[in-house]
Subunit: 128 residues, 2 copies
């Protein structure tokens, strides 16, 4: 697995991973991968991240069904960030029910939500 | 500057910042911003990052002239990553002379360079 060791893993064992919708070109999510997550992503062909908050592997879509099917994995010049081109199942990447997690735009000194909620999170995750 | 404090700055005082070419849709770079870098980026309308290796502010293009003019700043749902849509001056974001830093693609267990060098780095930076 020489390709695997060419990455410059951070002191925390992580690299940043950007997911981009291969069809729309939209940047959907920025998340983190450790070695295990990247290995699982490549083997499974679906995005698996390391959740820094939950401190465990996070199979994207494990609850929501909004899996990211990986079409392409790219590495940047200093080998510490990944770009994965994905097919976003359901067209929803964000836990708020929006296409992209980057749904807020800086507008005249405030963050303005610009994107519609495509599906009520309660319908995605159930009442909590 | 309430918008500024809404970010969830990491323990190291940084957030990840993804630059995307507004015209081509290509993800160009993943870099880091601290408070000062973000402030400078918004004030100047050009990407300013925090260089983790050099431990100083890094005005993107300061040496190469390949400035990233900022058209839009977006924030993700958990407020710890930025997406900036940019006009990439010169059409070259990478220090290797390529459009994007993500010029390598994982192909059958190895990283394959898929993108052409648009300009010889020696012509960008001078002989070193």
């Amino acid at each position: 697995m020489e390709w695997f060791e060419q990455l410059r893993w951070g002191e925390d064992g992580l690299v940043a991973a950007v997911a981009q919708d291969a069809r729309t070109g939209r940047v959907l999510t920025v998340a983190w991968m450790n070695r295990e997550a990247l290995k699982a992503t490549v083997e499974k062909g679906e995005a698996v991240y390391w959740s820094r908050s939950r401190k465990r592997l996070w199979r994207k879509g494990e609850e929501s069904g909004h899996v990211q099917k990986v079409l392409e994995v790219r590495l940047d010049c200093d080998a510490d960030a990944l770009l994965i081109k994905v097919e976003q199942v359901g067209g929803i990447a964000c836990h708020t029910g929006r296409e992209s997690c980057f749904f807020r735009k800086l507008d005249d000194g405030r963050w303005v939500s610009t994107d519609p909620v495509l599906k009520d999170p309660k319908l995605i995750y159930g009442e909590k």
